[in-house]
Symmetry: C2
């Protein structure tokens, strides 16, 4: 991204963009479920919430199909919210080759020993149609592989060299790198950040070419060199569940959690709101009766609250409106990071959502080799449909009680993923005592961290 890019892209009156020749119109992205579900059966979902009889089956991979690390997976479609399941998932082996070899389109193949290999699990929660999530599931791993291959020499060194070539321009270069504390894992984080951006660009181009719209969140776990990287852009969540510990591995990015960043952009570029919205936060939308009164408010620089005298412009619709799960950006979107949405505008206006959205993930690193792993340590990744109705503690209780009672079942991680899904459908398995129902699409990976010889790849 060059300086000035933002203004050229989003602001009126900036230099005109380079004219782009209209490309050939491509065909729409076809709808499908994750490849690893091919040939899978399904177990019936909660009949009381199904749109037609058995229209909400719980799906998981066929019994003979092993996912990386013997991970479990299950999903359920939403209840009449949309025609398609807008969640998507992908997983596989990541084969990082040295740049010089440059063999494209290797994915889920056996790799020669000399190359770096890892594993990849990803969940995408779409909105405004299933296309963006499908494109992300088809594309992001390739972007990541390319980004990792571009820095693979740095990954293989004890300490990333200042120059990728390994050539030392200054004899003290290694010391500069040391002082900045740059480690190989920082290159993986950088590769994840770049891969999300690259994938976002691809989705923008593909959707434009096929005349489709939409966006999606992205939650990715990558195992590489003894570490597990969790990259998140959106409101899915990953947690580590151990016998005595629950560790949250991702943060949610919503208009509420990113209020200050979003308000600040509107402060710097008020024209992005086209005079239709107020960037200020109030406890509720203001109305005529509030005029002249001093009411509670927050601006971009504030963590605390103060009072301001209400003016007419404060009565506009708020940039961020609603509370908790209901919070919406520009009255339109419930997440503030993700992929796609390049064409998304506020209904009946020309106001774009994209300038307020970030495609950059936050990346957490779990040093698996340092964990003193136990048999039942797992990472649970799921889209927001799960976390809307189950707390981290409830999920951990379900995980622990299921795994303790099912030590011998080779399919226990997929069975556990199914149990988690069932518990979002008002079925109380005794551990939650709540029986809440999620009407959203729900997708879950359960990744065992300690499963030698079980999965399709070693750790």
């Amino acid at each position: 991204m060059s300086a000035g890019w933002f203004r050229r892209r989003f602001l009126p009156g900036g230099p005109l963009p380079e004219p782009q020749p209209p490309g050939p119109r491509s065909s729409p992205v076809p709808y499908h479920r994750p490849r690893f579900l091919r040939g899978s059966g399904s177990s019936p979902g909660a009949t009381d919430t199904s749109r037609r009889s058995d229209s909400r089956p719980v799906r998981c991979p066929a019994r003979g199909r092993t996912l990386p690390w013997n991970a479990g997976y299950a999903e359920i479609i939403n209840a009449e919210k949309s025609e398609f399941n807008e969640d998507q998932a992908a997983c596989g082996k990541l084969c990082i080759q040295r740049c010089e070899f440059g063999i494209e389109d290797e994915w889920l193949t056996v790799c020669p020993e000399e190359f770096l290999t890892g594993h990849y699990w990803a969940l995408f929660d779409g909105h405004g149609g299933p296309a963006a999530a499908i494109l992300a599931a088809n594309t992001l791993h390739s972007c990541l592989r390319r980004q990792l291959e571009a820095v693979v020499e740095g990954l293989l060194a004890t300490q990333p060299p200042m120059h990728l070539s390994g050539r030392c321009v200054c004899s003290s270069d290694p010391q500069f790198v040391e002082e900045k504390g740059i480690r190989a894992e920082d290159l993986v984080i950088g590769a994840l950040e770049s891969a999300f951006q690259e994938c976002d660009d691809v989705i923008g181009r593909e959707l434009e070419a096929s005349g489709q719209v939409g966006g999606c969140t992205a939650l990715v776990a990558v195992s590489l060199q003894g570490k597990l990287y969790v990259a998140n852009a959106g409101d899915s969540r990953a947690i580590l569940v151990r016998r005595d510990e629950i560790r949250v591995l991702s943060s949610e990015f919503t208009p509420e959690t990113e209020r200050q960043r979003i308000q600040q952009l509107a402060f710097i570029y008020p024209e992005l709101l086209a005079g239709e919205f107020t960037r200020l936060e109030f406890p509720r939308r203001l109305k005529g009766d509030d005029l002249g009164q001093k009411v509670l408010f927050r601006d971009h620089h504030m963590n605390g609250w103060s009072y301001k005298q209400v003016e007419k412009s404060d009565l506009k619709y708020p940039l961020i409106h609603g509370q908790g799960r209901q919070a919406r950006l520009l009255g339109t979107l419930a997440v503030s990071r993700g992929l796609g949405d390049h064409q998304l505008r506020v209904l009946d206006t020309n106001i774009q959502l994209k300038p307020f959205l970030l495609s950059i993930p936050q990346v957490t690193v779990l040093d698996v080799d340092q964990l003193a792993l136990q048999e039942e340590d797992v990472v649970v990744m799921a889209t927001d449909g799960l976390w809307d109705v189950l707390s981290n503690e409830q999920v951990a209780r379900l995980v622990r009680s299921f795994l303790t009672g099912n030590r011998e079942d080779p399919h226990r991680f997929s069975e556990l993923a199914k149990v988690l899904i069932h518990n979002t459908q008002g079925k109380d398995d005794g551990a939650t005592g709540e029986g809440q129902v999620s009407y959203d699409d729900v997708s879950v990976f359960v990744i065992p961290l300690h499963s030698p010889g079980q999965g399709s790849g070693g750790h």
Copy 2:
């Protein structure tokens, strides 16, 4: 701050600012030490580092002078870095009156019972001259009092009302406030944020009027309604030391810790760098030999690192240069938040520092009433001169060993402040084992949290 303010203030080509009539030139801010040091003696500092014989005395309040909560204080001037001690300090009783009364200029007075009272301790670390820190020490508490008085009805309510008047426009207004989780402490946080901004404006006006320059960091502790608020803008630090706990109450704001915010502003407004600096971070400043090579770099959106091919523009001086204590913003400033610096420019250029600086503090709340306080629980606040040579753990060891051995001394908190200062002067009191010397100004408050009946005000 209105929208568009930033552009009008800092960017060329924006709408012209309103012409201001030149005000009468005021006299320079006179140099002085904190008022509570009047009549104080001093003990000699480290003679091996003094600029002339006994020119680095350790100063603390006179024996008869009691600070709020019986807090201790001590300071030492730098070793030849500047003519004056550029640190400043202030403390006193905060008398919050209801707005209607509007009595100005009450400070350190006995307040009628019906008003809210609190206490205030502040440290300011100046740079580019002592004037900004002196103005901040003279002014910030008044700004804070005004800001608190403007919301005092909200502070006194169980839950801040949506309307300051208490009038309910919507019957569900209390519910909206409840759902947002707005508490009285959020109003104090908001008041601190606004007070820092207001004080920054005052300093800008006063320095311009008197033809002086400079800036300062600000670290403030405020006790109010059973809570201790710690507001920090700069690189001073406050920690809570208890028998079994060290709790950090502030974060440092430096070009290094605020890299992403600073780089992002330069990304949005490249003209702020006037073509003289590169916003990208590299392990060291690049030179001709690096051209065309792929080197480690980070841009504003990255937490990780990646490689980029070096272009000519990458050889410019970096926006943030150096590492750790040596890191400088635009080659000029070691802090990224604080007050003042309105006129500060990069040497021999027209490039302003101010757009990259924030006057907003980060506020931490310590719920003192919930702490189950013990006799020797204290908050240590100090300017960076202390923390440059002593770690939190070393300070905690000094605090614990001194207080345990000096239970009966009524001046023990000032004595402890002196001990901490002595330990920055190469005097090893046995607890640190380091004997490092700070050549900077050093100022320290030690605030006991459990001292019934000792101080000038109850808790």
